[in-house]
């Protein structure tokens, strides 16, 4: 599903894995029709390329057998990095580099380090997770991904099949599936 182009000059990476994908898609008017259609597609062992919705639909991840996101693991790691950075840095500054007596407190005043340690944990975790999120999604400022239909971000729910190299009867099969499950629009597009 990676079909975006990054122009990162320094890395010279062009992720163009699915250039010229032929897509046959159907638009549904309601998420309940979409869910029923996906159940039927699963029963008939049809391979869905992707599903697009205007808002997150509950139960969809389960129906599509999407793997659970591992963002929280990344978040934990980033947060831990923040904790260590803050705590070790402050400890080094006030015990090794330039120890100063503040208000008669010991050089290594751990309670005083807690607020900044906490803040940096949250900061690293949030920034790290958000950057990771956009990276794995293939999204970012300047990224343009061709969309199938303008109403998908409005009120239509879309099931998309990839039809590169499919026979006419296969395509006919898919079209029949889409119309019998109640798609209000069936179309194809090259993206």
């Amino acid at each position: 599903m990676f079909h975006s182009k990054f122009n990162i000059q320094s890395f010279k990476i062009e992720i163009e894995m699915s250039q010229n994908k032929e897509i046959l898609f159907g638009l549904y008017d309601d998420e309940t029709y979409l869910m029923d259609a996906i159940r039927i597609a699963n029963k008939e062992h049809l391979e869905i390329d992707d599903v697009y919705t205007p808002f997150p639909v509950h139960g969809l991840d389960h129906l599509l057998n999407l793997e659970e996101s591992r963002l929280h693991i990344a978040g934990f790691v980033y947060g831990a990095m923040g904790t260590l950075t803050a705590f070790l840095f402050m400890s080094w500054v006030f015990t090794r580099d330039w120890p100063i007596i503040f208000g008669g407190k010991p050089y290594w005043s751990v309670p005083a380090f807690i607020p900044i340690t906490f803040e940096l944990t949250v900061l690293f975790c949030a920034i790290g997770m958000v950057v990771s999120y956009y990276t794995v999604n293939g999204l970012g400022p300047g990224v343009t991904i061709p969309t199938l239909h303008d109403r998908i971000t409005d009120d239509k729910f879309c099931i998309a099949f990839q039809t590169n190299g499919a026979s006419a009867s296969d395509i006919g099969n898919l079209k029949e599936f889409l119309s019998k499950t109640g798609a209000s629009l069936i179309d194809s597009k090259v993206i």
Binding site: D50, F89, E119, A126
Partner: protein
């Protein structure tokens, strides 16, 4: 939010909306020219912003002496305003983050605007620590960067520095959280526009397509950011309270400040959200999305946090007497009966007495009463910070050092101007971005729209029960 909604809940979206209606209604203010009300409001706000710029210039050029800060009164309106603005900002995070964790669907009507309010309030708040430094061109000194003066580091033990990290983190995380939710909505705007407008929203929407996998990660990210933002908002205002609590001055050196400040922040923040929302829903015709249910829920939060603040005031009074410590006893005697007695009674009336009106359902659900209350509470909370700062500093340990503080035109200009800055940002926001979270409101339509719930609900077919299950 896949929890089943109780059948006795009132609908959160009125007007029998479809998904397309939601898109149209919320996108409309960004697609049509501004009306007279917006233009007048913007003109007044720009005038305020100009006042801010001029007063800040005067301060930086002539110095902090242009404020009436004098011996023992090191902080006046500057830190009062700082704490006031930061407190206001906390409601946005609470609505987005804490109400998400509590699965309160009503947050979807107000969270986008509340988060925007948080960001703009933090921008306004951040001006004050900067300009009160005096030598603002050396502001970067507060950050620990390697330098050739030793290297000379900042004082990590000082709450003033903890503030630097707390406010910076709070600002960054708020912007990230807000923008994450805005990306799908910008995609909606993108797909409805053409030409240059489409290019701009395409850039802003980061290429969002609505793919199921992206939504899955979106929900995961939102939940974790909410989980992060919750302790963050609690810690930020706690750290702000430490600016006072870690000192030795009677009236400041008290352990009640962290919960007192946090409750007060939520209290004043919700009042500001209500002030903004009551106007916005009228002017932008969003009454079907920001309903009386939303207003009532926010009033309940105001009643709760106002009562906590009131309890904190009474606790302070009791403890100051119970401690037997003459300086602490005097500090509170002075607040109520000293030269600033009028600010103390203003604070008590606005913060403790007036929210009690919300015990009555009739007033909780009255737009008129709510609007005036929200203004009173904002004023009352400003006075609370003023009472804490100015009255305490005016009468501390040694009577020969007692003084009195009155603001100068420069400080008044900065404060009034900061309100102008805030409204300029907010009014611009209402024109370029959707004021209500489009995708989130759509996701609660089936469970909370008035054709599915409440008095006007149509009898539903079994089809519609699918919105909560895995099958």
């Amino acid at each position: 939010m896949s929890a089943v909604v109780s059948p006795i809940r009132e609908p959160l979206i009125t007007g029998s909306k479809t998904y397309h209606d939601i898109t149209e209604d919320i996108c409309r203010p960004t697609e049509t020219a501004p009306g007279l009300m917006w233009t007048i409001a913007m003109a007044v706000s720009v005038a305020g912003l100009a006042c801010f710029a001029f007063s800040v210039f005067w301060t930086v050029y002539f110095g902090i002496g242009t404020w009436n800060l004098n011996r023992t009164i090191g902080w006046g309106w500057d830190i009062t305003n700082f704490v006031w603005w930061i407190g206001i900002g906390h409601a946005g995070t609470l609505i987005s983050a804490i109400l998400l964790l509590f699965r309160q669907k009503w947050r979807t009507g107000v969270n986008r605007a509340a988060e925007a309010m948080t960001i703009f309030a933090v921008i306004c708040a951040g001006q004050f620590p900067l300009i009160h430094m005096g030598r603002i061109w050396l502001a970067f000194f507060i950050f620990p960067y390697p330098n050739t003066r030793g290297p000379l580091w900042v004082n990590f033990n000082s709450p003033l520095l903890w503030d630097v990290f707390a406010i910076s983190t709070y600002f960054t995380v708020s912007i990230l959280f807000w923008y994450t939710g805005l990306v799908p909505d910008f995609a909606t705007l993108r797909d409805r526009s053409t030409g240059m407008r489409r290019k701009i929203y395409n850039f802003l929407s980061f290429g969002w397509t609505g793919s199921a996998k992206h939504w899955q990660r979106f929900e995961s990210l939102s939940l974790i950011l909410a989980g992060l933002a919750t302790p963050l908002v609690l810690s930020v205002h706690t750290i702000v309270s430490f600016d006072f609590a870690t000192s030795v001055i009677p009236g400041w050196h008290t352990t009640i400040f962290p919960p007192y400040f946090v409750a007060g922040a939520i209290f004043s923040g919700f009042a500001m959200v209500l002030t903004l929302m009551l106007i916005a829903r009228k002017v932008l015709h969003l009454e079907d999305y920001i309903t009386i249910e939303h207003v009532e829920s926010m009033n309940k939060v105001i009643l709760l946090t106002g009562s906590i603040v009131g309890t904190a005031y009474l606790t302070e009074l009791f403890i100051s007497w119970y401690s037997g410590y003459i300086y602490e006893q005097f500090a509170f005697f002075n607040r109520a009966l000293g030269p600033y007695w009028w600010s103390y009674f203003g604070m008590m009336a606005c913060n403790v007495l007036s929210p009690q009106i919300f015990w009555f359902k009739k007033y909780r659900r009255s737009i008129f009463v709510t609007f005036f209350m929200s203004i009173f509470i904002n004023i009352g909370m400003w006075f609370e910070r003023f009472v804490i700062i100015a009255t305490t500093l005016a009468r501390d340990y040694i009577p020969s050092s007692w003084s009195y503080y009155v603001p100068t035109w420069v400080e008044i200009g900065i404060f009034v101007g900061s309100i102008g800055l805030f409204f300029v940002l907010f009014l611009l926001f209402t024109r370029v971005a959707p004021v209500v979270a489009i995708a989130e409101v759509k996701s609660i339509l089936k469970s909370s729209g008035d054709q599915y719930r409440g008095k006007n609900a149509m009898p539903h077919h079994s089809h519609h029960d699918d919105d909560h299950g895995h099958h």
